[in-house]
Amino acid sequence: MAAYKVMLLGEIGVGKSSLVRRLVLDRFDIDYKPTIGVDVYRYEVPADTGRPAVSLIIWDTDGNFGEAIFRHVYMKEAAAALVVGDATRIETLDTMAELGAGFRDAFPGRHWAYIVNKLDLVGEAVAALPEPLTRPGITLTRTSALTGHNVQAAFHQAAATIVRRS
């Protein structure tokens, strides 16, 4: 089964670890423990119409890396990046836009998409998105790691795009 490396990027505390743990372990930990360094998970995406089953090797990075992450050995051969922001903290959405642009420039042609997490805390009242996140062609999914809403969909969509481009 083909395996693809997917980076989870975003500011500290936006819920990157919660998303991947919800996806892989179907679990949500109330106690917040910031990631320091990197945690690596494997997630198998079952075959779908026109797409074989694939493994996603998901790298959950420390939010403190910022844009320095693009020069780190961790990023080598990354097939895609999912850039995460916190729906309750507008400044993390600005950072999202910067990280998305940084990945696009550092890894031209690779897939990247945005995830606005913690939807459960804001309901429908999601803050206005920064302009770069609303441009045509941008992939943005609103999720809740707490409830699991859209989490699987975000990663499955990423898998489909990676396979299509590879």
């Binding site: 490396k5 320091i36 360094g37 690596v40 494997r42 090797i57 790298w59 051969e77």
Partner: protein, 382 residues
């Protein structure tokens, strides 16, 4: 162990130490064939790596680095390093690892896998970061409070400028109108008198503006903190304050050397003493300046036996241009003296209090309590 140097001919201690560390999970070794399939492993730390399987099945972070690892075969000095990665495999608890790949020179790749810092280490680091953050937040709150005070000052200023400084301006406008009427009626003497009044109001306004600028600068400049001989300071002040015959000035108590913003202390004491003399309804009269050392502070008091200040005005008299004396009274100042003292006290981090209740006894006492950094007995102490 003896202090012998380990040499190839005496490698037994090294081998024993290496085996001990590997058995205790300190490190592990994994050998890979050119296809990156595991051919051997050593050490408890890597017992999740299956022999005969691609290394990337277990060491997930190596996925994507296969080409780089294969390229090591052509470069004996090169290594591929992955620091502090935590691998999550179903049903396995694997500590955070440092992984280093290097070529053995015989077509194989050797992986050195060592234990990275533990979760407890990371949490300790995190706790240190959190503490630093709490301190930074606390400093930020303090600065916010200082900013709020500065804003309040600004509001006071706005009130002063809009009210007090407009008063002489209004007076000048009225005097000008009156003088014009006088001139039209050929009442020249009266017109000249009004022109004198205009000049007087203009001088008053100039003085107020000058003093207001001085007031604004107190505490805003970087005050020099140095050791001050407070005994010498108060003696200089007392000598320099003019006073009418019959108003006595007395220095009492222990006046220490003190690490303090000297200019601010001078300004505060000078204004307090001048204020006590100026507003006394004597002679006869007595103004007593005293110093007393407290725990971590020195209190300076200026007491007089004058008319005193009604407690209702204790706060108001500390505001700029607020004076209980009539503006035209000779003794009445600009009303900035006590405002200067309050501002100088803030610059020193000192507390400033007014104690007076004319209903029960005459007189007023102004107390300035300055925090002490370091002190030595003054040579001229009582």
């Amino acid at each position: 162990m003896a202090s012998d140097e380990i040499t190839p001919s005496k490698a037994a201690p090294l081998l024993a130490a290496g085996r001990l560390l590997a058995e205790r999970g300190g490190y592990g070794l994994v050998w890979l064939d050119p296809g990156l399939v595991v051919t051997a492993r050593y050490g408890r730390l890597v017992d999740f790596v299956e022999i005969g399987e691609p290394v990337t099945d277990a060491l997930l972070p190596l996925i994507g680095l296969e080409a780089e690892i294969r390229a090591l075969a052509g470069n004996a000095d090169a290594v591929v390093e992955l620091p502090a990665v935590a691998i999550h495999l179903p049903g396995r608890e694997i500590p955070r690892l440092n992984i280093t790949a290097l070529s053995t020179g015989s077509g194989e790749t050797l992986l050195l896998v060592s234990r990275a810092i533990t979760r407890a280490d990371l949490e300790a680091q995190l706790a240190a970061h959190m503490r630093a953050r709490l301190i930074a937040e606390s400093e930020l709150r303090a600065k916010s409070r200082a900013l709020a005070l500065a804003n309040r000052d600004l509001e006071d200023f706005a009130a002063i400028i809009s009210h007090d400084l407009l008063a002489p301006l209004r007076a000048m406008r009225k005097l000008t109108d009156d003088a014009r009427g006088d001139i039209l009626r050929s009442a020249d003497e009266q017109a000249l008198s009004r022109l004198d009044d205009i000049a007087s109001q203009s001088s008053r306004m100039s003085r107020m503006l000058r003093e207001l600028l001085d007031y604004a600068s107190v505490g805003r400049k970087d005050e020099v903190v140095a050791e001050v001989d407070t005994r010498r300071l108060i003696e200089d002040i007392v000598r320099s304050i003019p006073r009418p015959e019959g108003i006595a000035l007395r220095i009492e108590g222990h006046w220490p050397r003190l690490e303090v913003a000297g200019a601010a202390l001078d300004l505060a004491l000078r204004n307090l003493v001048a204020n006590a003399v100026k507003h006394h309804d004597g002679p006869p009269g007595l103004v007593t300046v005293s110093a007393a050392e407290g725990e971590g502070c020195v209190s300076f008091a200026v007491a007089d036996d004058g008319p005193g200040i009604d407690p209702r005005y204790h706060e108001a008299i500390l505001l700029p241009f607020r004076t209980l004396a009539a503006p035209d009274r000779a003794a009445g100042g600009s009303g900035l003296g006590l405002a200067f003292v309050k501002r100088a006290a803030e610059a020193m981090g000192a507390r400033f209090e007014v104690r007076s209740d004319p209903m029960s006894r005459r007189g007023a006492t102004f107390v300035l309590t300055v925090p002490r950094r370091r002190s030595r007995p003054s040579a001229g102490d009582d």
